[in-house]
Symmetry: C2
Subunit: 138 residues, 2 copies
DNA sequence: TTAGTTGCAAAGGCTTTGCACGCGC
DNA sequence: GCGCGTGCAAAGCCTTTGCAACTAA
């Protein structure tokens, strides 16, 4: 499995220092950063990067289908680089930690025709909620 | 099944003209309005209602557990009055229409222990995506 | 009466935009 | 060199807040 940076290069994505840093910061498993967090981490490596560029780059990665946009519990959206592999999310109601999960079976199968209102249903996103081991501790 | 207004009265909720109008506007099936839409509809019946009051009232209905807050596709949250009956959502990727749906079985059962990362998982929210009959038409 | 609710206006957080400069190809 | 990408600052959208006046119970 190639990493985010390699995939982008392979697509002929115009590479700049700023874009490289944003892609590096997002690459990995269980990464779900807000734009602000991306900016903070990117600034650590490239202090002159601007907020607008972070937003531009994130928006572009989303349109390219390389990064997934998550609603986020508060007001800020979160960005998930695992768009190339379908998955769902497990969110801790205590601390907000997010893990990528892969449930058994196809969630679409659970929706009977009578509940589809004539829609052609093509995808399902599942958010599981619970308490992480730390927050569940007595 | 009693309606929203009756349930609120039964809970001893302090009733005002503004609160009544907000509750009336939200009552029903497949209702998923933004705060702005609630304000618009409420204003039609009670022109002097203010935006702040709509937000206050919506926030309170959410804490009471009578209304559910949905992330919403764009930036504005949506408010769903069917919090008393668990359900999921089917969203049209074309026009944004939202329907309440009730899938078969328990979505939690699909998440194996190995995918729970030690969390105590207590709920699942599912968003189905597809095209409504109008948007799917050739 | 009196605690809770309202309206107004201002502030706040997150995101987008306009424009001139700069840099990858 | 050309055209896209960047940075800055300002504006935008949605939401929250402070405070004085008001009102349901």
């Amino acid at each position: 499995m190639s990493n985010l940076l390699e995939r982008l290069r392979g697509r002929g994505w115009r590479m700049t220092a700023q874009r490289r840093v944003v892609a590096e910061v997002l690459d990995g498993e269980h990464i779900h950063l807000t734009a602000d967090e991306v900016l903070a981490r990117a600034s650590a490596r490239l202090p002159e990067i601007s907020r607008a560029t972070v937003y531009n780059t994130l928006g572009e990665l989303v349109s390219l289908g390389e990064v997934m946009e998550l609603p986020g519990d508060g007001r800020a959206k979160r960005y998930d680089p695992n768009a190339h592999r379908p998955h769902h999310h497990l969110v801790c109601s205590g601390c907000g930690a997010i893990r990528d999960v892969h449930p058994d079976g196809d969630p679409l199968a659970a929706l009977p025709a009578a509940e589809r209102f004539g829609f052609s249903v093509s995808a399902a996103e599942v958010t599981y909620r619970g308490l992480c081991p730390v927050c569940a501790a007595p």
